[in-house]
């Protein structure tokens, strides 16, 4: 096929051209409508941006007060109750404002405890996979004396959590405190002078249940381990408590679970 054939073929291809009903006025009206709509969109976008910028910049303009370093500010602390042996006359009024910073657990301790907990938990609870270990900062508590680690795990049933609380001897945790909110069984004495406390926390009319085991160690420290028959994050129930009492005992008595 030559170029001439192609030219002729192309001219012939439009031989059946339908009549053209073209209205230039209508086209111009549509074009004006499109232009106005586009201008309106641009105006709205600019106004939105300006408004957003104003809202974001105003706090910085008006808030010219010097910043407050929370870490350096006085901390509200409550001193421990005086022991009964102390004479009332010698008691000093509790100081509400204490000019000392709270002691905190060094980051290295948390890292070591995370590694220990991850390994020990999987050893003690076969089939469980530790997803995350989080440390809760309990307000009003001296973190160097009381540390709460939350072990989030998944087993064959689903996700759940176990909570490990490490209490320093200075905390002076007693059996009465441990059993205050739970029904405790008889303590089990250990050969090393320590003893174990077992508690089951239930609520009337609610299927949720918690097993708690506390190891009152000979050095005065207390390790508490709790497990649930539900997922504390979602509230989804499971048939039984995710960690058995024996497994809780193994965790609570693990000598590696300490930070002192």
């Amino acid at each position: 096929m030559s170029e001439a054939d192609l030219r002729e073929g192309l001219r012939a291809a439009i031989g059946d051209e339908p009549p053209l009903n073209f209205d230039a006025e209508e086209l111009i009206q549509r074009a004006e409508h499109v232009r106005k709509r586009r201008r309106a969109l641009v105006a709205v976008a600019v106004a939105t941006l300006a408004l957003t910028g104003t809202v974001l910049s105003l706090p910085g303009v008006f808030d010219q007060r010097p910043g407050i370093d929370v870490g350096q500010a006085p901390v509200l602390t409550i001193t421990a109750s005086p022991s009964p042996s102390q004479q009332p006359a010698t008691m000093e009024p509790p100081s509400l404002l204490k000019e000392t910073r709270p002691t905190t657990v060094p980051a290295g301790v948390r890292t070591v405890l995370s590694e220990v907990l991850t390994k020990q938990f999987v050893d003690v609870v076969p089939g469980a996979k530790v997803v995350e270990i989080d440390f809760a900062d309990v307000l009003g508590q001296d973190q160097a004396a009381h540390l709460v680690a939350i072990v989030r795990f998944v087993d064959g049933v689903g996700p759940s959590e176990a909570v490990v609380e490490l209490n320093a001897p200075a905390q002076q945790v007693t059996r009465d405190q441990f059993c205050a909110v739970a029904k405790c069984d008889e303590p089990v004495r250990q050969d090393d002078g320590s003893h174990l406390e077992f508690a089951t926390v239930t609520n009337p009319g609610v299927a949720m249940m918690t097993y708690r085991v506390a190891h009152f160690r000979a050095d005065g420290s207390v390790v508490e381990v709790s497990a649930y028959n539900y997922d504390p994050m979602t509230g989804v129930l499971r048939a039984d408590v995710a960690v058995t009492t024996d497994q809780l005992v193994r965790l609570a008595t693990d000598p590696k679970l300490t930070m002192w």
Binding site: M1, L6, R7, E17, L20, I28, V34, R35
Partner: protein, 176 residues
């Protein structure tokens, strides 16, 4: 837009609407879509009419807009999978006219059918060069590419068109 500019656009649109629609038809092979392409191109042209730098060659700019509009339209997913099942427009079928020469029927049917089998950019080059009779330089401007690319695309397009026409002819012979 000022009245004088609007009047200039109106005159341009009226005088070029038909030719733009024909070119669009050779691009896409459908008169309805060709009309849509022509209208969309003129709408875009209206928005840019106040720019006077290309006013001396408004036809070339309009072809460029038309080509871009068609290529953009082809890229849309629903165009790729569109199946037309509407009524056939009530237009006289010139192929049924016994007075028409067999050569013209061959040309219209085979060349256009073959052209629709050529890749889009090569098809555009063939239409602009052999239907619009544009020189290579103007085709390059409309396509937004170099003249060398226009030449190579033309050569490839012609090869593809000949192959498509031969294939259609073989099919026609087998069918008959």
């Amino acid at each position: 837009m000022r009245k004088a500019e609007e009047q200039g656009f109106r005159e341009f649109a009226v005088s070029h609407a038909a030719s733009l629609r024909r070119t669009a038809y050779l691009f896409c092979g459908d008169w309805h879509m060709a009309e849509d392409l022509m209208q969309a191109s003129l709408l875009k042209l209206y928005q840019a009419w106040h720019r006077i730098e290309w006013r001396d060659n408004a036809s070339g700019y309009a072809r460029k807009v038309l080509l871009r509009t068609w290529l953009d339209e082809k890229r849309r997913p629903w165009r790729r999978v569109e199946q037309r099942d509407g009524e056939v427009p009530d237009v006289a079928d010139s192929a049924a006219d016994p007075e028409r020469s067999g050569e013209r029927l061959w040309a219209r049917d085979l060349v256009h059918a073959g052209l629709l089998r050529v890749p889009p950019r090569q098809r555009a080059v063939l239409v602009l060069r052999y239907f619009e009779d544009l020189p290579v330089s103007e085709v390059a401007v409309a396509m937004g590419c170099t003249e060398g690319t226009v030449k190579s695309q033309t050569a490839r397009g012609l090869v593809a068109l000949r192959a498509a026409v031969e294939e259609l002819e073989r099919g026609a012979v087998v069918a008959s």
